[in-house]
Amino acid sequence: MESLNQQIADLRDYLLKFARLQLRNEAWAEDAVSETVLAALGKPQAFDHRSQLKTWLVGILKHKIIDLLRQHGREVTVSSISSENDETDPLDYIGYQADGHFTEAPANWGNPEQDLSSRQFMAVMDACANQLPPVQGRLFLMREWLELSVEDICKDLNLTPTNLYVQLHRARLRLRACLELNWFARTSTP
């Protein structure tokens, strides 16, 4: 029987993948995972075996990531946001006529509920989240993966709600386009 310490050490790479995706910064990701492993090794009795070990570790990691984002919050500034935005409204990529109505109706994605839990779909989700611009991706994942409220994100990073809404709007449209291109266009029936 492998010791708990060894099992935790074996999951380090797995935790790093999650931390990199959220933090977009190798040093911060390493810090978050190291803190997570130390916390887990320091209190192994807190693992009650009712959940999977990796579920327990991801729960700890989320808190460490939130701590790090708060600590480095001032580095996500309004200027760093504006520097990675182009001036194009991402809605323009969808295709509207001059009167604001669709040029072409959006594609029917079908009813893909079962597909959404497949390993292949999760790989596409990972890839699409990874291709978001760094600050935009970080804000989007704070909202969607760490499940922080808009108020908390604004407070932690000293952003206005308007700034945050613009970034989340852009991130959602980018993600939609990426999923459509890399998943739904390939799996939906015409």
């Binding site: 669709f102 029917n108 709007h169 739904f184």
Partner: protein, 62 residues
């Protein structure tokens, strides 16, 4: 005035994921959805994405 273009409606559908819309916008959205063939399809895409995000949050990797 409750008439909205598809572009305005798709922006509202996205915005609704992060904030509560004012009553006027909710009403405009509902009216537009009844009259438009395309926007309900876009709305279903966003709902599918919402479900996908929920699955992704719970996903623990292979």
């Amino acid at each position: 005035p409750l008439n909205r273009t598809c572009k305005e409606v798709t922006a509202l559908v996205i915005a609704r994921e992060d904030r509560d819309l004012p009553l006027r916008e909710r009403l405009a959205l509902r009216i537009h959805m009844k009259l438009c063939d395309s926007c309900p399809v876009f709305e279903r895409q966003i709902l599918t994405m919402r479900n996908a995000m929920r699955q992704w949050r719970g996903y623990q990797g292979p």
